[in-house]
Amino acid sequence: MKADKKIKNVFRQGAISSEFIANSIAKHQVKTNIGAHNIFLGQVRADTIKDQTVAAIEYSAYEDMANAKFHEIREATFEKFNLTCMHIYHSLGTVKSGEICLFVFVSSTRRKEVFKALEYVVEEIKAHVPIFGKEIFEDETHQWKINS
């Protein structure tokens, strides 16, 4: 299967639910050439920083540029790895601690490809996509998250 050339909207408002993930998995049952799926889920941590605990992250993005970057990452990943399909979803707006903000899903005929491809995609997203996370503490103060 060729990579889809149309730029998709990767963003979802709010947290990504486990039902959404289940539905995405279930849709792949008709693709009977797939032997291996690999899924990455980013979950918001209740980190404690200077006695304050993170209650939620509020995500914003330069949406057009972010979707263009996600598209570039998709294309590059299909070039590098032998995948059957790939799906990426990222939250915008408020995601509470314990909830999921990033869902990356890659599938291939054989397992060797999916491990390398998934790590590549996640690292590319963290490094190159203009998304901004505002960590909201329990006392409603905030700080801007920086990826490590």
């Binding site: 998304i131 901004f132 801007w144 990826n147």
Partner: protein, 77 residues
């Protein structure tokens, strides 16, 4: 040329707006930043990247597009 300038995250907090139109008569990103720093001195010690027409640029790049964005460190995922 009128530039549509977009601000995000911490940068938008400092500029207190997410988008504005700024007239610009010079050439490079460096000259554009002089203008921005004179308007928002608090941005001088902040870490950010500049994008022109959704592509990252460096300070020597010539400004030729109407859409410029100031992007603080990315923290998706």
């Amino acid at each position: 040329m009128n530039l549509k300038v977009k601000y995000f995250g911490l940068i938008a907090e400092i500029t207190n707006c997410s988008e504005e139109t700024i007239p610009f008569s010079k050439h490079t990103v460096a000259e554009f930043l002089d203008l921005i720093f004179s308007k928002y001195p608090a941005l001088k010690n902040k870490d950010f990247k500049v994008a022109q027409n959704m592509q990252l640029v460096n300070i020597e790049t010539k400004i030729s597009s109407a859409e410029i964005a100031l992007l603080p460190p990315f923290s998706g995922g």
